[in-house]
């Protein structure tokens, strides 16, 4: 059984604490006995390389994208290159706005030694000018796996759109509560539970158990691509 927390923000997300740097997150993974995590910043992949170097082998490249309807969608990738290509593509759909890090939060790009490299200057907390359907199209075209994030909470698909849209390409949903988990399963999804950590102590407060013998990224990715209730177990199973 593999324990995974597949929704963790780094210091690049404006809403996350600036202490979410590679050494701290890597330490927390050990403390909380997580076998694998995914770094999923808002609308950007610019910290993935640094985190991958630091937490080598325990890492799935990811991103949390915001659609035009302000629905959060997670996307997981088999390689950092694929994730980065998608992020480069969607960047042009991010509205340009004046951005004050003091007010709206710092967006810090770090290296694997936790050293400051740069500040992301475009505000990442905005909705991409892409409809939910188009966003899922794009994720699939970059061979990513789309997942509705925290379905029953703010910016979750149920919260924003009332009912699930009909889209067979999205097989996974992420729930925060047992009620959300039940709703997701009833609607035919395989349901993940992750922390959505914005601070170090939140890492691992929710996780998903994958019925896989050994830690093998390819196998885990295969399970995410063709998910089944037998292989994806939440904390409520």
């Amino acid at each position: 059984m593999i324990k995974a927390d597949l929704h963790v923000h780094s210091c690049l997300s404006p809403c996350a604490q600036i202490t979410m740097v590679p050494s701290v997150i890597s330490q927390k993974i050990k403390e909380k006995q997580m076998d694998i995590i995914s770094i999923t910043d808002h609308n950007s992949c610019r910290n993935l390389v640094s985190f991958a170097k630091r937490i080598n082998g325990f890492f799935i490249p990811g991103v949390e994208l915001t659609s035009f309807e302000e629905v959060h969608v997670l996307a997981y990738f088999h390689s950092i290159e694929a994730a980065s290509n998608l992020c480069d593509f969607v960047k042009k759909f991010l509205p340009k706005t004046t951005y004050d890090p003091e007010l709206m939060g710092y967006q810090i790009i770090v290296n694997e030694q936790d050293e400051f490299q740069n500040l992301e200057e475009d505000f990442l907390g905005l909705a991409l000018q892409l409809s939910l359907t188009d966003l899922v199209d794009i994720i699939c075209s970059y061979e990513g796996i789309p997942v509705y994030a925290h379905i029953e909470r703010r910016f979750g698909v149920l919260y924003q759109l009332g009912v699930f849209p009909k889209d067979d390409r999205v097989k996974l949903a992420e729930a925060r509560s047992k009620e959300g988990w039940i709703q997701g399963i009833k609607s035919g999804f395989v349901v993940l539970s992750s922390s959505d950590a914005h601070a170090p102590d939140e890492i691992g407060c929710r996780f998903t158990r994958f019925a896989i013998e050994d830690l093998n990224l390819k196998e885990l990715f295969d399970v995410l691509s063709m998910p089944s209730r037998e292989k994806v177990l939440s904390i409520w199973d």
């Binding site: 409809s131 149920l158 759109l161 009332g162 009912v163």
Partner: protein, 110 residues
């Protein structure tokens, strides 16, 4: 008041639906879960949300007409679904604030 009267007085564009239906109330909002829990039957709904699910929300809540503001456009999918459900889709370049104010001023209350 009939939807057609509202259309005329606010200068709205009709995208589809039967404008001879009567509306009694108004509501506004872009969070579909919020509208589902608060809208009264026979309402006209002011929003910037155009996702196809607005039609389902309208059908569930008994909303008869939707006004899409700020010059946003309905996706084809939304129009097809609305025609099927008999929901009247309207649009305007006016802001939701202005449309809500105008509706209120002609006697549509929440």
């Amino acid at each position: 008041m009939k939807i057609s009267q509202v259309v005329e007085r606010l200068g709205l564009e009709v995208c589809c639906g039967n404008c001879e239906q009567e509306i009694l109330y108004g509501c506004s909002g872009d969070l579909l879960s919020e509208v589902m829990s608060h809208a009264k039957p026979s309402s006209i709904w002011v929003t910037v949300q155009s996702h196809v699910n607005i039609v389902a929300v309208a059908a569930i809540s008994g909303i008869k007409a939707i006004v899409l503001c700020n010059d946003h456009k309905y996706p084809q999918e939304t129009i097809v679904k609305a025609e099927h459900e008999g929901i009247c889709l309207l649009k305007t370049s006016k802001s939701p604030f202005e449309v809500a104010g105008l509706l209120y001023s002609i006697g549509i209350k929440s």
